[in-house]
Every structure is written in structure tokens, then in C-alpha cells.
Amino acid sequence: MMERIAKRLAWSVLVVWATVTLAFLVNNALPSDPARMVAGPQARPQDVERIRKSLGLDRPLYVQYARFMSRLVHVGPFEVAAGDAEHATCETFGPVHVDFGKSFQQRRPVAKIIRERLPRTIFLAFAAAFVQAVLGIVFGTIAAARKRTFIDVLAVSGSLLGVSAPTFMTGLLLQWLFAYELHLLPLDGFGDTTLEHVRSVVLPALTLGLFGAAYYTRMVRDEMLGQLGQDYVRTARAKGVSPAGVVVRHALRNALVPIVTILALEVGVLVGGAIVTEAIFRWPGIGSLSVSALLDRDGPMIMGCVIVTSTSVVLSTVVADIVVGWLDPRLRRER
């Protein structure tokens, strides 16, 4: 198992490198000028040119790429001393330094900006995934167990509505009702205390969660219906296991295998940022950062966001593999 995980992690590094390289090339191939985006639309050409040079954008592309990759992960001092220009943009993990460079727009180390924002994004991603999983599994299981009843129809219709409703609509509706009218939760923002963070995450997590829950409801229902028709379920029933026990302990556990895989991937994607939801609720995460970076052609920031997103997706697949193996011992042996 450990060998397999190690292989997967090595493969992950290759995938992330390929993604980053592709993003670098695409970003530089586009007909746009990052220096103009820094200087603003009304700056004079001579000022734009000066800024271009100061950002190192006048150097050949391969030089920029080589510098970025050579700095990305490197070895340096355990602690960066004040005034150490060489490592001023690094985030340190002991002697290992991670350096995404300095944001063209914010003129701060990208690694530092991501360090500030990533925990908030992970918080939202897990909260949303939790809502998705709990609602999806509960409603999907009930719908399957009560097949062709009113509950089943309600769950299926509700999931259709949830999947069809765009997050900007759900988000605004939740914001209007729970924050604006009922004053139960904050309108937007992240808050300053732990309690405020928790209160602030409810609406964005619900917005993302309701959309995902609808999808999971349908998926769990279909998986469960497939499992409930299997021989081992009939055997369990024949042996006198209670209906709830059959559903929860036998069928649900097997139905969860594909769902866990998709849920893990979903967390990975959510860490990449929920752009619309972050915009509605002013959630200071990676999503809004990525969009601004892209619109401003902020190369180092784009690279940083791409690395975070691709790494989170790749790592989540590794986690999914581990969890699936734990859920279904047959898969562990097969692999």
C-alpha cells in the first residue's frame, strides 16, 4: 500500500509540473501585456516600459521559465533574515523553501498571499463537502429505501431543482432570506473571531452544498438501488438483519465507494476556488484570487493558484484511493 501511495505521489509531481508548464506557456502566449495591467489603462508607454523591465518581463521567455522553476522549490536557510532579498518571497518549511515569486499587482510574495487565503478556502471546501455529503447521502438513501413513494419523488424532484439552480441564484436567495431579512447570519465576509468564521461559512457552504447535495442525492439513490438488488442484500434480509441494518450497514457501505471517489475529487476542485460563491459572499479565498490574477495577467499569482489547484486535485485522488481501499478490502487486494 505504502509503495503504491509513493508511486502515486511521484506521479502527482509530474502531473503538477506538466500543468504548471502548460499554464505558463498559455499565459505567455496570450496577446496581452502584464506590465500594462500593472500600470493601468492610462499610463504612458515609457512608464509601462519601465514597469515591464522592473518585473523582468523584458527577459526571454525561457529565462523567465527557468528562473521560476529553479526557485519554485529550493533549499535555503531555516529562517529568512530581514533584508535577505534572495529569499524574501519564500515560504519556508525548515530548509525547504517554496517560492512562487512576487505578485505583479500586489507586489507581495505569492506564497504568502496563498498561505493567508488557502486555509479559508479549505475551510469552505470542507464545509461545503460536508453539506453535500450529509444531505446527499441522507436523502439519497431515504429515496432508495422508499423507492416509488412520495419521499422518493420529492428527493428526485428536489435534486433536479438543486442541480438546475445556478449557485448565484441560490446564493442570493439564501443571502436575502437568512442574512438580509431574518438577520440570522452575516451578509458576507469572513469575520474576525472563530465564531464569526463559523457563522460566515454557513451561507456559502449551503450555497455550494445544496448544489452538490442535489447531485449526490441522485447518485446515492441510483447506487443504492443497484446494491439493494444484489444477492448479498437478499442474504442479509434472509438472515434476519433489520431493514435499517440492511440499508445502512450493507448496501450503503458498498454504494459509498464511487461516491467517496467523486467527493474527494470535489473537495480538490473546491480548494481551487468557488468563484461565484466567493464573489457573492465576499469570501476571501483562492477562487476570487485566481480570477483577479487571470484578469490582470498576474503571472506569478496565476502560477501559484494553478499549483495549488492542481496539487489539491491530484492529492485528493490519492486520498480517494486510500479511502476507497479502506471501504472495500477487495480493491486493496486487487491493486
Binding site: 492610462q42 431579512e181 438577520h183
Partner: protein, 576 residues
């Protein structure tokens, strides 16, 4: 089960109906009457969807930050309510040597936020810090008329020769040649005095400190979230500002801003969705406290004079006459105003005597005929035989106006092929030589003067192969000479005549077909007193005071609308 379904459906339906059809709630009233004396205290709450990138005069790289810099950094001079230059830290100045020397006499006792006195040395240090090539200042070249600027910008010298200290409170600026807009440019925030902690050269980590009416609160800038300023008690204008502080919140979308405004959590709002704006403008309880800001922006259709068919002046004239600007204005009637001249009406230098570009279809057809491209609207024959690529960017107003424009120009035989790209790509392609035949042009005043438009947009020296600000690549030696002369002309009256002449050329030769101006509507709460729109800064924070009934904690729940009412209307019961 039926009750759950029914209640859920009712909830969703009610939410939708209420969200769509509700009136604007009543505003929170003032505490005092019309003649109430100004009172100190309170924090003004402002919000924006945009964010700021830096908080340093030497890095003024976004459109939102100037009003914050104005609040934090006093300049030698500033703009008054008409956009004229008035004394600020300099109590007076003299102009000598035929407009080539400006001598400023500083107020004694003016203090920085750190308590130190503002001196001539600080002025020189701050100017050099902001104009040094190591600073990311996008406006450094605006000061190229200063003596020694070229050497300083090329790092040949460490000191800027054109700025000289002549005593603790006297500083002299020497120019190589007279520059009529030197004072308006100096009033921009870039070279405003900074505390000694800023050092001689720009650094990214400096904590903003100036001599303006407000200073940064401790840890007051939470990047991407909010900026908090507090009153600078050592501000040289005694008794000002009246506010305890100001808080800007960033990344707040228009809907959230509207919610916050009606809940009393936002004091002034500017970024309205069109339906919300109409609702506020038509509500008699809110209308008296809303106003349009000055129109300081020109929009038009920029035609590339180096590419066919717009290398023919008659085709450009045809376009200028074929555009029905009133139709374009209706696309966003709440914010757009018809504009027919190069300089917006609220900018000094606007001259109503300059003939307007007006909609006249027969005349447009006549111009097409003169160009050798006669077009018959009845048969659809004639005109320019090829489609004309028209570049617009996504999510801009131009995405909508392009559709109307294409229909209007089709009536004179010009077929636009609309190409939608993202904003950075739009900027790169439009500003590149011989690349885009036609694209929207837009420009906002950098400083309140006609030359802020006439010089960068249409002079030959503004043409560049890449990053050209002259996006129509228009070149006319007579026009250049008028603008150059106006730039050196010290007499206000003579300069006005020169800029008027230059505007007449532009209206006639039409490198741009001028279309509309964009006006922001600002809605203040009734309790925000002395709020008037400033022509440059938008909001004048040093004058505003808060006169709120019930204090900051009062919400509109006290004034007729209440969360419980809504709860009851939704759930049919009172909350327990």
C-alpha cells in the same frame, strides 16, 4: 408531508416575490434638523467591489485608491470644488521665470501622522522617492518637464536637480520649459509628502504615513477585505476632519451593497445595479440624498487612421454622423449621457462653442459618397465591401453598445464584425499599431484639464507601436502644434482658445466618434451631512459628519421594518 412541501414551496415563492418586488425601505433619518451644528464622531462606512493594490502615492495603480490617498496624504496643492488648484500644505506659491520656476511656501506646523513637522526636505525626498525609476509609479513621466528628470530617470544622478530646498519651509521646482499643467499634475497624489519612515526610495513594505486628515488605523489595512482610517488629530486644518474614522470594505458586490445600505450598514453607495438605481432615484425618501458625480470621462469609437477605410477622413466623418447617440445612451439610461465633443462638460477646458458631432443620417451618407463609397440604403448596395473587425471586451458596457453601433453603421454601408475578447487582450490589440481598425475608446481625466484628454489621446507623440495611448493613431501637425502651445501657455484665456481650436479639429476630422459619458450616481444616507460629490476625489471626507438618529447601532428595524415581521410573514409565527 404535504405541509412540508407546501411550506417549502411557499417559502421559495415568497422569497422570489419579495426579492423582486419589494420597495426600497425607508432610510434611517437624521437626528438633527436642517440647521444642526456639525458634530464630531462616527465612522463612515463605504464599500466597493473593487480592491486596492497598494497604499502608497508612488504606486497609484488602480482607480479606487486616489480618494484614499487624498484622505491620507496632503499635497502641496489640491483641487477645489471646481477642479481649480488651491493651496494645501503650501500656503502660497509664486510662478517666476516665465512659468519655469514654482516656489512653494509651506505652512509652518503642519504635522505628519507620526508627529513630525512637514518640511521642504520632506517634499524633496518624497518627490525623488516617487519619481525614482525603482518606484512602480505609473505616472512618473508626468513630471518629465522638471529639470534633470531625464538624468534622474536614467539613474545617472541620485538627486533630482529640478527640486531644490531653499530653507525649512521653502521648496523650488524648476522646469526646463513652461508647463501650464504642472500645478494640476502636482495636485495629483503621486508626489505628496510622506513621513520619513518612507525612506528615500520606494519599498513594498512601507506602512502608509502622510500629513492628510486621516491616518491608517493600527493594522488598518486587511488586504482584500477592508481599510480603516482614523482621524489625524494633528491635521493642519484645525477642527477637521469631523469623522472619527472611515472604513472601506472591498469585494462587496452591488447586491450586498444595496442590502447593507438599506440596513444602515453602509453610509454612501455608488455601485448600483440599474434596477436598484431606478428604485432609489424614484423614491422620494432617498432621492434628496442622491446625486450624480461629475462627468469626467469620454467614450467614443476610436477609428484607426492608418487602416482602411478609416484612413479616409470622409469615412470617419460619416461614422461620426451616423451614430444616434441617444439610442446608445438608452442602453444604460441611468448612467450614460450623450457626449459629442472630446472634452467632457464637467472638465475645465470644455467649451460649448466647439461644434458637436451630431446624428445626421443623410449627411453621413453624403460623407460616404464623398469617400467614394456611396451606399444606397434602399437596395443595400455600395458602402465598404469588407467586414470591419470591431474589438470589444467581455463584461464591459461596450459589449452591449457594439450591437447597437453595428446596426447604426450598417445603415451607411459599414458592416462591423464584433470580436469579443477579454480585457487584457483588448488593451493589447487595440493599442498595437496597424492591428485593430475600430474599437471603443475611453478615457478618464487624470487631472482636471482639457489637456488631460487632448494630449495623450490624439497627439502624434502619443503614438507608439505597442501600448499606444493614441488608439486612433491620429497624426496632425497642426493639432500637435496647438496642443504643444497650449501646454506652454501660461495665460488661462489664451490656453483656452488654443484647446478650443484643437477640439474643433478633432470634432471635424473625427479620429473618434464621441458617443457618451458615464456618470456615477452616489446615494448617501440622510444622516451623512455635508456630503457633496467632488469633481476629482468623488467624496470629500474632511467635511462630512454623521448625524444619525439612534447612533450607529440603530438599524432600520427601529424605523418600520423588522426581522420579526418578515419571519412572521414567511413562517406564519413569531420566532421563539
Amino acid at each position: 408531508m404535504r405541509s412540508i412541501l407546501g411550506r417549502t414551496s411557499a417559502l421559495v415563492l415568497l422569497a422570489g416575490l419579495v426579492a423582486c418586488g419589494r420597495e426600497v425601505p425607508a432610510p434611517i433619518p437624521r437626528a438633527g434638523g436642517e440647521g444642526a451644528p456639525p458634530a464630531r464622531g462616527g465612522t463612515l462606512e463605504l464599500a466597493s467591489f473593487a480592491d486596492i493594490r497598494a497604499l502608497d502615492p508612488a504606486n497609484m495603480a488602480d482607480g479606487l485608491v486616489p480618494q484614499m490617498l487624498e484622505a491620507m496624504f496632503a499635497g502641496l496643492v489640491d483641487y477645489d470644488h471646481e477642479g481649480h488648484v488651491v493651496p494645501d500644505l503650501a500656503e502660497r506659491w509664486t510662478v517666476e521665470d516665465e512659468g519655469k520656476t514654482f516656489r512653494f511656501f509651506l505652512r509652518e506646523g503642519a504635522r505628519f501622522h507620526d508627529g513630525a513637522e512637514v518640511t521642504a526636505e520632506d517634499v524633496k525626498r518624497s518627490v525623488e522617492r516617487a519619481l525614482h525609476p525603482s518606484a512602480p509609479n505609473p505616472y512618473a513621466s508626468y513630471f518629465e518637464s522638471l529639470s534633470g528628470f531625464a538624468e534622474f530617470a536614467a539613474k545617472k544622478t541620485e538627486r533630482l536637480a529640478g527640486v531644490e530646498v531653499e530653507g525649512r519651509y521653502v521648496v523650488r521646482f524648476r522646469l526646463d520649459q513652461p508647463d501650464a499643467v504642472f500645478l494640476p499634475v502636482l495636485a495629483m497624489p503621486m508626489v505628496r509628502p510622506t513621513c520619513k519612515s518612507a525612506g528615500d526610495r520606494y519599498t513594498d513594505t512601507w506602512v502608509a504615513c502622510g500629513a492628510g486628515p486621516f491616518k491608517l488605523a493600527p493594522n488598518g489595512w486587511d488586504r482584500g477585505r477592508e481599510l480603516r482610517l482614523v482621524r489625524h488629530d494633528g491635521y493642519y486644518q484645525r477642527g477637521k476632519p469631523l469623522l472619527d474614522g472611515v472604513r472601506w470594505t472591498f469585494h462587496v458586490n452591488s447586491t450586498s451593497q444595496r442590502f447593507k445600505l438599506t440596513r444602515g450598514e453602509l453610509d454612501v453607495m455608488r455601485e448600483f445595479l440599474a434596477p436598484d438605481l431606478v428604485a432609489f432615484q424614484t423614491d422620494p425618501r432617498w432621492r434628496p440624498f442622491g446625486a450624480y458625480e461629475a462627468n469626467k470621462q469620454v467614450n467614443g469609437e476610436s477609428m484607426n487612421c492608418e487602416l482602411p477605410p478609416f484612413d479616409n477622413v470622409e469615412v470617419r466623418r460619416a461614422v461620426a454622423a451616423a451614430i444616434d447617440r441617444e439610442q446608445l445612451r438608452k442602453i444604460r439610461a441611468t448612467n450614460l449621457v450623450v457626449q459629442t465633443r472630446p472634452v467632457p462638460p464637467d472638465v475645465p477646458g470644455f467649451d460649448p462653442e466647439v461644434p458637436a458631432q451630431t446624428f445626421d443620417l443623410p449627411r453621413a451618407l453624403e460623407h460616404m459618397k464623398n469617400a467614394g463609397l456611396a451606399y444606397d440604403p434602399a437596395t443595400g448596395k455600395g458602402g465598404w465591401p469588407h467586414p470591419i473587425p470591431y474589438l470589444v471586451y467581455k463584461q464591459g458596457l461596450t459589449e452591449a453598445t457594439a450591437q447597437v453601433l453595428a446596426q447604426q453603421l450598417a445603415k451607411i454601408g459599414l458592416r462591423l464584425e464584433i470580436r469579443i475578447v477579454n480585457y487584457p487582450t483588448f488593451m493589447a490589440i487595440r493599442n498595437r499599431r496597424r492591428q485593430s481598425p475600430m474599437a471603443p475608446g475611453f478615457w478618464q481625466q487624470d487631472f482636471p484639464d482639457a489637456l488631460s484628454f487632448l494630449e495623450p489621446l490624439w497627439t502624434t507623440r502619443s503614438i507608439n507601436d505597442e501600448d499606444s495611448n493614441n488608439t486612433s493613431f491620429y497624426s496632425n501637425p497642426r493639432y500637435d502644434a496647438l496642443v504643444d502651445k497650449a501646454r506652454r501657455e501660461p495665460s488661462e484665456e489664451r490656453r483656452r482658445r488654443l484647446t478650443t481650436e484643437a477640439q474643433k479639429i478633432l470634432v471635424d476630422e473625427a479620429p473618434w466618434a464621441f458617443t457618451y459619458g458615464y456618470r456615477w450616481y452616489v446615494q448617501a444616507q440622510p444622516y451623512v451631512r455635508e456630503h457633496t460629490a467632488h469633481p476629482v476625489w468623488g467624496i470629500e471626507l474632511s467635511k462630512i459628519w454623521i448625524d444619525r438618529a439612534g447612533g450607529r447601532m440603530a438599524s432600520r428595524a427601529l424605523f418600520g421594518h423588522d426581522a420579526r415581521t418578515t419571519f412572521a410573514s414567511v413562517f406564519g409565527d413569531r420566532p421563539r
